[in-house]
């Protein structure tokens, strides 16, 4: 190999991670994914939901908020009285089910994504501090985290709902806050493990500062386990949103969210079953996709699995 070229490519590597490696990594990951049919399926399902959310305006035949009381409670197209105008039928206000399901994916994904983002970033920070500083600070912080676990969920939800009202943001806030403990605990555990690891000591021995050790050594190694929980939690939050819908404390009812649709449709379950069934299926579908994908991710990120590589 041309020495100049090597030095050049290696050199850029020193400054920054470079393209070639990432590409080969990508190929590698793709191969792992390709092998795992369930993971593949999960990814496909997940991508479908994401695409639905992104292209909602294009995909949905109607405005999801458009009411037509005269056309209310139409069954899906394939049933006797259904029409092709509303493929999945209409709800009790005559809004198009399909359009609402499509737009609902936006709420679900937003809640899932930002909820996880908040929970993860707060939980991670807390876990990092707790694990890295240790001692009294650790027991203090972890006491607080356990307190969140012990705090009755409903009290908190009602508190947020009545102080701040119902909004997408508040739903995100609720999930973001109540899911801090899981991220904090995992992070702390990992930090405790990583703190004792050889490469941290090795970094210490070359005179690296604490900050550098945190950012350059501990954080990157945390990402694996955190990404895994994040996918699980994301599907979890879509599940929890349904629960909030049941309590009538999810996003404002006009906002098409699967949880709200499911909750308000439940009283029609026997007579207009499609109103509650489709959002339920949408939740299960998305949850399945994320979980399958998350399972696969967990397997791939398991170092033991990676080690068999060579």
């Amino acid at each position: 190999m041309d020495n100049e070229a090597i030095i050049k490519s290696t050199g850029s590597r020193i400054d920054e991670e470079v393209e070639g490696g990432i590409w080969s990594k990508f190929v590698y990951v793709w191969r792992l994914l390709y092998r795992d049919k369930a993971g593949m399926l999960g990814l496909a399902m997940f991508l479908i939901v994401v695409a639905t959310a992104v292209f909602s305006p294009v995909l949905s035949p109607y405005d999801p908020l458009k009411q037509d009381l005269m056309a209310a409670k139409q069954p899906p197209a394939w049933s006797e009285k259904g029409t092709m105008a509303h493929i999945l039928g209409t709800d009790n206000l005559g809004r198009d089910m399909l359009s609402r399901i499509i737009y609902g994916s936006r709420v679900s994904l937003t809640v899932g994504f930002f909820g996880v983002l908040i929970a993860c970033s707060l939980g991670m920070t807390i876990g990092l501090i707790s694990g890295y500083i240790g001692g009294r600070v650790d027991s203090f912080i972890m006491g607080g985290v356990n307190m969140i676990l012990a705090l009755p969920y409903l009290v908190f939800v009602v508190f947020i709902a009545s102080i701040l009202g119902r909004s997408l943001f508040n739903v995100i806030l609720i999930f973001g806050f109540t899911n801090i403990p899981i991220f904090a605990r995992i992070t702390r555990g990992e930090v405790l493990r990583l703190r004792e690891s050889g490469f941290v000591e090795s970094a210490l021995s070359i005179g690296a500062t604490r900050t550098r050790i945190l950012y350059s050594h501990i954080l990157p190694n945390l990402l694996g386990p955190l990404i895994t929980i994040a996918t699980f939690e994301m599907s979890g939050m879509i599940f929890y949103e349904a629960g909030l819908g049941f309590l009538g404390l999810s996003v404002p009812p006009s906002t098409p969210s699967w949880g709200n649709m499911l909750a308000s449709g439940r009283q029609y379950l026997t007579i207009y079953p499609w109103i509650a069934t489709f959002p339920g299926l949408a939740i299960v579908f998305t949850g399945l996709g994320m979980n399958l994908f998350g399972d696969w991710l967990r397997d791939v990120l398991d170092p033991r699995l990676r080690r068999t590589k060579r």
């Binding site: 090597i6 020193i14 970094a203």
Partner: protein, 348 residues
């Protein structure tokens, strides 16, 4: 074959300057009870009152059974663990008196190669990044200079330059140890603590690495503290060897003395237990097999820490710890049974 260059003091060119001086070094790990109001109920005396000097350009070997405090000694010398008491000097700087910041600036001069070659490499960093990190941290040059230095180091330790873009898990144990060595050398240190750098390696690779260490010493005039539990390798590479037991040095002397005239009963049994790769000799020699197991460093026996396993222990050995002193020139020993003149002991 040439004279045993390594069995004597290093070359006279360095004029017997002291590189590292360790005085009464102690490292006790507290054992605590309770979670909130924890209190100390005891201590693991991992290193207990250890003193020695290492000359410039010398290799001091440290041997001893697992858990006797070898790694802890190495770490405490480099202040990776704050010593409980005692002093460590690097040339004339008292390392143990420095604050964190000053210590960081001294780090480039003293490096460590860690026991576990895999664990000490961050699995998410490329080799180039790993080797460059010491230089980046200490800002030793421009990116271009650092890049060149990385290339140079890779070559020095016998790795291919295109290995730089790979990740640790893509290497074999021997190669990983080379990466560790390159990293340790990056800052041109004067002194390196090598903590069992070869024990995880295959026989055929061990020789490669040992040779590399020696070559580097010859080229760069490095000083090593070489920790191992394989006596034959230690003897091969070291000028002098310290034998540790339960956090203390039992005997410290030149390699030649150690094999020809080991004084401490523990050293003797250790030497006899090292298997010799020669069926005839191995089967016909007598071995001093020690009874029992190494006591726990949190509750070492009273008196001489070795007396309860010592094949020649006398009653008074359990009374107090023998003094560690230079019994004959260049031969340090801690045993009650050494005679005054420092001559031979009651041999087993």
């Amino acid at each position: 074959m040439s004279e045993h260059i390594r069995s004597q003091k290093p070359d006279s060119t360095t004029e017997n300057q002291i590189m590292v001086r360790v005085q009464n070094l102690k490292k006790h790990f507290p054992i605590t009870k309770g979670i909130i109001w924890s209190k100390q109920v005891g201590a693991v005396k991992a290193v207990n009152n250890v003193s020695f000097d290492i000359m410039k350009g010398e290799t001091l070997g440290v041997v001893g059974e697992s858990g006797c405090g070898k790694s802890t000694t190495g770490r405490a010398i480099l202040n990776l663990l704050k010593p409980t008491s005692g002093k460590v000097f690097l040339e004339d700087i008292e390392i143990t008196a420095l604050n964190d910041n000053e210590l960081r600036h001294l780090r480039p001069r003293m490096q460590m190669i860690f026991q576990d070659s895999y664990d000490s490499l961050n699995p998410r960093h490329s080799v180039a990044k790993i080797i460059a990190e010491p230089m980046v941290v200490n800002k030793t040059g421009s990116p271009a200079e650092i890049r060149d230095r990385v290339m140079e180091l890779l070559e020095l330790v016998g790795l291919n330059p295109n290995h730089a873009v790979r990740y640790p898990h893509e290497f074999s144990g021997g190669q990983r140890q080379r990466i560790n060595i390159a990293k340790a050398l990056a800052l041109n240190p004067d002194f390196i603590v090598c903590d069992e750098p070869i024990s995880a390696l295959d026989v055929s690779i061990q020789a490669q690495i040992v040779n590399l260490f020696q070559d580097l010493q010859d080229q760069l005039g490095l000083t090593y503290l070489f920790i191992a539990h394989d006596l034959s390798m230690v003897q091969h590479i070291s000028h002098r060897v310290a034998v540790m037991y339960l956090g203390q040095i039992m005997e410290l002397t030149s390699c030649k003395n150690l094999s020809d005239n080991p004084l401490h009963p523990y050293t003797q049994s250790l030497m006899s237990a090292v298997p010799i790769p020669d069926p005839t000799r191995e089967r016909n020699r007598t071995r001093i097999i020690l009874e029992g197991e190494v006591p726990s460093p949190s509750s070492p026996p009273r008196g001489c820490v070795f007396h309860n396993r010592c094949p020649i222990a006398k009653d008074f050995c359990g009374d107090k710890m023998p003094e560690y002193k230079e019994i004959i020139p260049d031969h340090f020993l801690a045993c009650h049974l050494a005679d005054d003149k420092g001559g031979s002991l009651i041999t087993v």
